[in-house]
């Protein structure tokens, strides 16, 4: 009669053990005093000593497998004797299955039913611990409703040791004071954080006030929205397929700001309050510059360069979850007010997510502006099929040398231009920037 060795209770708190390593194999001769296996408890790894003489007939819990205390882990008996079979509990499953090293959680959920084998080979050897040989394609059928655990061995104590011990009162005070519990050292039993610990932490002030206003960093996973997916795809294509080159020009923004102020004042004075933004002027100036340098208003079409007969001016609008580029059509035909109104309308639509696909397509050039964020200068990624993108920085006071070679305080704005070198060369880009800066530095030119 074989002797069944059960998972020993090696500590007073041990409820289950993991077989870390079998030191004997099935069929090996064993003697009283031999070490059969190493068992990991919630506290330590200990040796499982053999108290019988005989042969290791059967290993029920393979290396890496877990079993609750008192459950059979192996059988020892006479040579050639048949070991009894045992229903293997889910905990007893091995750490890794050869065919399927990392079962997904979904699979684990279904384990109680009848999981399909991952590989197509239905005769793939099933684990020895699965005793229902009559149904080789199915895993051991556990009673429904029995909790199943992911088979990977976990340190049994991990969850309990990670649980932050704090009294309900301490938790409440910490929350009220905005003190994160994990920075407080507990003085209570088992290191429990109690009221006095929280008050002491508050007293020290190191954590309290600052932590109260600065929220802890949050780690989160955000699924990709459709808009994000489009942005990612298009910009990756652009940056990897279009040979970008970059030029930059700093301009004097004083005249532009003066004109803007004057026009806004005029509208106000005559009872039609309307405020043009700096960006409105830049859009208008860009449209005029494109009319002056039509080579910039073009697209690479593989076997031809398409210089467009109209200026369809896209501009970037930042949204909470992305960026859209609505298009002002035939911008060359529109005056400042028309451009401004249309831009405003498109921005509103963009923010309320009401832009139609038509309103976001067919651009011939794009303007992007980070001036409002205090950016000096930057270079946008070209919005295909445009040949260029204008990147507008903010207006800053800077020392400049004026016409009389005096150093004065100037209001300066930096314009960046990214160009598709397949379509335009540096000279075209430079000409465009020159025309643009003329329009902005001598604003009357943009109204011609």
């Amino acid at each position: 009669m074989p002797n069944i060795i059960e998972m020993p209770k090696l500590s007073d708190t041990m409820t289950e053990g993991t077989v870390v390593n079998w030191l004997k194999n099935e069929g090996d001769k064993v003697e009283n005093g031999d070490i059969l296996a190493e068992i990991e408890t919630d506290k330590a790894t200990q040796e499982l000593e053999c108290f019988d003489d005989g042969f290791l007939l059967k290993i029920y819990i393979p290396t890496g497998g877990k079993a609750p205390c008192g459950k059979p882990i192996c059988a020892i008996g006479e040579e050639g004797e048949k070991a009894p079979k045992f229903e293997v509990t889910p905990e007893a499953k091995p750490a890794s299955k050869e065919a399927d090293p990392e079962p997904s959680p979904k699979e684990t959920e279904e384990e109680g039913e009848a999981p399909e084998p991952k590989s197509n080979d239905k005769t793939a050897p099933k684990d020895a611990s699965k005793s229902k040989k009559s149904a080789p394609a199915k895993a051991t059928a556990e009673p429904k409703g029995k909790p199943t655990k992911p088979p990977a061995p976990k340190p049994a104590s991990s969850s309990s040791s990670q649980r932050l011990l704090a009294s309900p009162l301490a938790r409440r005070i910490a929350e009220e004071e905005g003190i994160p519990l994990d920075v407080i050292k507990g003085s209570g039993p088992k290191g429990r954080i109690v009221k006095s610990d929280v008050l002491a932490a508050k007293e020290q002030g190191v954590i309290g006030s600052a932590a109260a206003v600065i929220p802890a960093l949050e780690e989160k996973l955000t699924p990709i929205s459709n808009i994000r997916e489009v942005i990612a795809k298009r910009l990756l294509e652009s940056k990897t397929q279009i040979p970008h080159f970059y030029i930059e020009k700093e301009i004097d923004a004083t005249p532009l700001l003066q004109v803007r102020a004057a026009i806004n004042d005029r509208f106000k004075k005559y009872g039609q309050p309307y405020r043009f933004t700096v960006n409105d002027y830049i859009l208008k100036a860009a449209a005029e510059a494109l009319r002056a340098v039509p080579g910039m208003n073009a697209s690479w079409e593989g076997d031809q360069i398409h210089q467009h007969g109209s200026i369809h001016l896209a501009f970037g609008v930042a949204l909470e979850d992305g960026l859209v580029t609505p298009v002002i059509r035939e911008a060359e035909t529109k005056d400042l007010l028309a451009i401004s109104r249309e831009a405003r309308e498109l921005i509103d639509k963009a923010r309320s997510k009401k832009l139609t696909p038509e309103e976001m397509s067919g651009s011939t050039f794009t303007v992007t502006n980070l001036g409002m964020f205090g950016v000096d200068s930057f270079y946008g990624i070209i919005n295909p099929p445009n040949a260029g993108i204008l990147s507008v920085g903010g207006v800053f006071n800077k020392p400049v040398v004026d016409a009389n070679e005096n150093i004065i305080v100037g209001k300066r704005m930096t314009l960046g231009l990214s160009c598709d070198h397949r379509t335009v060369d540096g000279a075209i880009g430079a000409l465009f920037l020159q025309a643009l800066s003329e329009n902005l530095e001598v604003p009357s030119l943009m109204f011609v």
Binding site: S167, P168, L169, A170, R171, R172, G188, P189, R192, V194, K195
Partner: protein, 324 residues
């Protein structure tokens, strides 16, 4: 104010109520000629005569039923159990009939009866004479349960119990009978359902009933003298109705509670109080609620072991120190 024993305080309450209300009567084993097994009814037979103070046969099921019937007819019997352990003989009468008749009669029939007697261990009388059934009495809707700890409370609560129109179980304690305390001569009652803070403190609430209140007061003194811990002692006095608010107020103040009772721990009164505290004062707890109860076994006959079985000052102090 006169200082009298707990025994005499109850005796006074009985005498005064016999005097005040001709419907009040005393009945039980040896309550008359023998003056009560613990002499609580001493002098009452002489003063009020055999119509008001009745010696009954040794037949709890019979005389409790007699008492309940008398109560149904409008008398106000005070029935003595020599030990509360003996109420088990009359379980159906006491826990079934007395508790339910008012409800079953649609409120037409009241049972203005008092069952009283000692319910305690610690006196080497063995497993069948040492029961503390206040927990399952309080578990029975329709019954009121009081456990006075001091002579003053014993008299005031006993008078309330006799004047109440529902069955009231008064659980006394043979160890307390000789304890002395100030008791006013004038008529007074202590309403049921009102706890009393017997000692104000700031660091921990010791919540108890019956003799354990006295142990808690001693423990509180030792905690203050030897450990600098300022314990508050709440005497709940009345198990049902229970004064939850005084308990909760104390725990909200001290943030810690040790519940002390002579009941066996499993389903004891303090199991319920512990639930109430965690339910209604969870965010005020700075430590787990601890309990000191009798050790969960039939009452041990060996005197030295029984002293270890029931709550002691040492055990209370030890438990307090675990969470302070």
């Amino acid at each position: 104010m006169p200082v009298i024993t707990y025994r005499d305080a109850i005796n006074q309450a009985l005498a005064e109520e016999l005097q005040r209300d001709p419907n009040v009567l005393i009945m039980g084993e040896e309550v008359g000629q023998y003056k009560g097994a613990y002499k609580v009814t001493r002098g009452l037979l002489d003063q009020f005569g055999p119509d008001r103070v009745l010696d009954t046969p040794i037949s709890e099921a019979g005389f409790t039923g007699l008492g309940i019937g008398a109560a149904m007819m409008g008398l106000r019997p005070v029935v003595e159990f020599m030990f509360w352990s003996f109420c088990y003989v009359a379980f159906d009468q006491v826990f079934n009939n007395a508790a339910n008749i008012r409800y079953m009669s649609g409120g037409l029939i009241n049972i203005p009866i008092v069952f009283r007697g000692p319910a305690n261990g610690g006196t080497n009388v063995g497993a069948t004479h040492s029961h503390t059934p206040e927990n399952f009495a309080a578990n029975t809707p329709g019954l009121k349960v009081i456990c006075p700890a001091t002579p003053y409370d014993a008299k005031g609560l006993m008078k309330s119990a006799i004047r109440d129109n529902d069955p009231v179980f008064v659980m006394e304690n043979t160890v307390l009978y000789g304890n002395k305390g100030e008791v006013p001569e004038e008529d007074y009652v202590i309403p049921m359902g009102v706890a009393e803070v017997k000692r104000a403190g700031t660091d921990i609430s010791l919540i108890a009933h019956g003799r354990c209140v006295i142990l808690c007061l001693e423990a509180a003194k030792a905690l203050a003298d030897e450990h600098g811990i300022n314990a508050e002692v709440v005497d709940i006095r009345s198990i049902r109705p229970l004064d939850e608010e005084t308990i909760l107020e104390s725990v909200r103040k001290t943030n810690r509670a040790v519940l002390v009772e002579e009941n066996k721990p499993f389903c004891g009164v303090d199991a319920q109080i512990s639930h109430i505290i965690q339910d209604k004062a969870f965010d005020y707890l700075d430590a787990p609620i601890k309990r000191v109860s009798s050790i969960d076994a039939p009452q041990i006959y060996s005197m030295p072991l029984e002293k270890l079985q029931i709550p002691s000052v040492e055990r209370i102090i030890e438990t307090v120190l675990e969470i302070t």
